[in-house]
Symmetry: C2
Subunit: 332 residues, 2 copies
């Protein structure tokens, strides 16, 4: 069997961009060090070395390469994007009182909430330092806008959680905050650092945005889909945490009075009993909510693929196109 | 009695810079708004409107004015500095599990830790957006460096706390993180936005740095000084929280075996009993630790005052000089 056939688009991107990714990893290790506070690299190493997929920095490297960039600063921007992502994970761990991240205990259990908050802040500061190294103001604008959207989306999620009035447009804002804003910033800054023409910058923004949304809907769907081995999450976690994700939102929109009472009790009041998850799945199946969410995810993946049409054809574009299909292959 | 005589240098700065400060407040209100997440202004208004002294933005406005700036962007930078300061307070509230801030319940009790972390992140992102508005890369460098120093100092404080090996140089790093880094960045960016010559930029950095250190030592001293009415803190809070501040560090350095055992029990082990605070004060008095810390604070205030010597003489310089004396007047 040919190895190339079994490789995922992520594997192929990683392989193609391996020399640049090695530079990114070196830069990350250099910049996360702290002369004064050795606790910092202890906490970050835990996350940064934990074998994350490095999807976001790969997107920046790929976008820059696709736009013909041959300077050094896509390395800085890829490291920036990973720092922002890692800071978000650290702050999420505090926020969600998560117990596990990437299959290992979270930093806030190994150390404490204090370290998670402050080391996250440190990484954000380091991210902005890395951006100033590029000397390009526009990448600072893009990434500070993305940072604002990320925290805005997370705050919105706090207030939207457990509120049955949450509709699909609010869900989309939350998803942009949680996932798509950093994806789209990652691809956009790759184009900007390459001084790509505006239509290419826009196309790469659109690609990252649609890719991130497809990715997140697939994730939310899997939470009800029973493929926990793939993402290390147990089926029904979102239900137990009373999160209003797309499948539930669609089911709530179509609910009759009895079903509405069910969602009010389980999601709004959080009064859940044995068998409620099965009941929730049955209600969603009745309204085709999971199928409709799946169709949405596939639609966003198609939109991501289509966004790349005006960019130079070649292996990088192929891989990015395949990546769009890949993020929804888990639910295909 | 002449009102001008009883005015503090802070009052005079506030009065002189009132029209610009009004613009800063308007900009703060505009930029802390969030179209998507109404929880954000609820949380920030609580802090931003709570009648903080606005010392840091005043420093930026004063520095810019002193260097003859007549553009609009010192307003943005003053708002930036206040946003970074407010974000730090929000994250500190989570970190320290504080119950009160500026005499009101902290945001994390009114809302929750989640909101404090995420809204702090939002304000940091907004701060960086404000900076990009200026179009001056160097202010981004200065303020991202300051942000890194702040979180580094706070992490260092976590690990240095309760460790008797903490010496005065570590204390100074912590103090730069907690206080001086943002003071010095506030004054430095004021000079930079005014395109001031390098010696003035340096002088204003030195002023802010020394002012911040003097301010923090005075604060730490007051915690053992019994003037709790002034700062809303109770005497001995730092002792009970086992913080190694300058007076204790000086007493530990001069300790005999019995005293060392006392500090190990009360600070390192946290095994404190009735009468221990009085004992700590007696030991500090025996070694002149409080007097020595006071002398250090006065020395830093004098250094701050001296740093301004090369800057244009006039009312603003006078007020900044007086401000240096004012921050230590509480312990004079």
């Amino acid at each position: 069997m040919d190895a190339a056939v079994t490789q995922t688009p992520m594997d192929r991107l990683s392989e193609t961009l391996a020399p640049e990714m090695a530079q990114v990893n070196t830069l990350i290790r250099e910049r996360m060090a702290s002369r004064h506070a050795p606790r910092i690299p202890e906490v970050t190493a835990h996350l940064v070395e934990a074998g994350g997929k490095r999807l976001r920095p790969l997107l920046t490297l790929a976008a820059a390469r696709l736009c013909g960039y041959d300077g050094p600063y896509h390395i800085h921007l890829a490291a920036t994007v990973e720092f922002i992502h890692t800071a978000t994970l650290l702050h999420d761990d505090v926020v969600d009182e998560s117990k596990q991240r990437r299959g290992r205990p979270t930093a806030n259990l190994l150390w404490d909430n204090k370290s998670s908050v402050l080391v996250g802040d440190y990484l954000l500061a380091r991210a902005f330092q890395l951006m100033t190294d590029t000397g390009v103001m526009r990448v600072l604008e893009i990434l500070s806008n993305a940072s604002a959207t990320i925290s805005e989306g997370e705050v919105l999620q706090l207030t939207a959680a457990q509120d049955l009035a949450t509709d699909e447009s609010i869900y989309l804002q939350v998803v942009r905050g949680k996932t798509a804003a950093l994806f789209s910033a990652a691809t956009e800054v790759g184009a900007v650092i390459a001084s790509a023409p505006e239509d290419q910058v826009r196309a790469l923004f659109d690609y990252g945005d649609a890719l991130g949304i497809a990715f997140q809907i697939a994730d939310d769907l899997l939470d009800y889909g029973g493929t926990s081995a793939v993402i290390g999450k147990n089926t029904g976690d979102d239900f137990r945490e009373r999160k209003l994700t797309l499948p539930v939102i669609k089911a709530v929109a179509a609910a009759d009075a009895a079903e509405r009472a069910f969602w009010q009790r389980t999601i709004e009041k959080g009064d859940q009993a044995e068998g409620d998850l099965e009941q929730a799945l049955a209600i969603m199946a009745r309204h085709g909510a999971l199928q409709a969410a799946r169709a949405d995810a596939l639609g966003w993946a198609a939109k991501a693929r289509a966004a790349l049409a005006t960019l130079p054809a070649g292996p990088i574009r192929d891989m990015l196109e395949d990546l769009a299909d890949f993020v929804v292959a888990r639910i295909a």
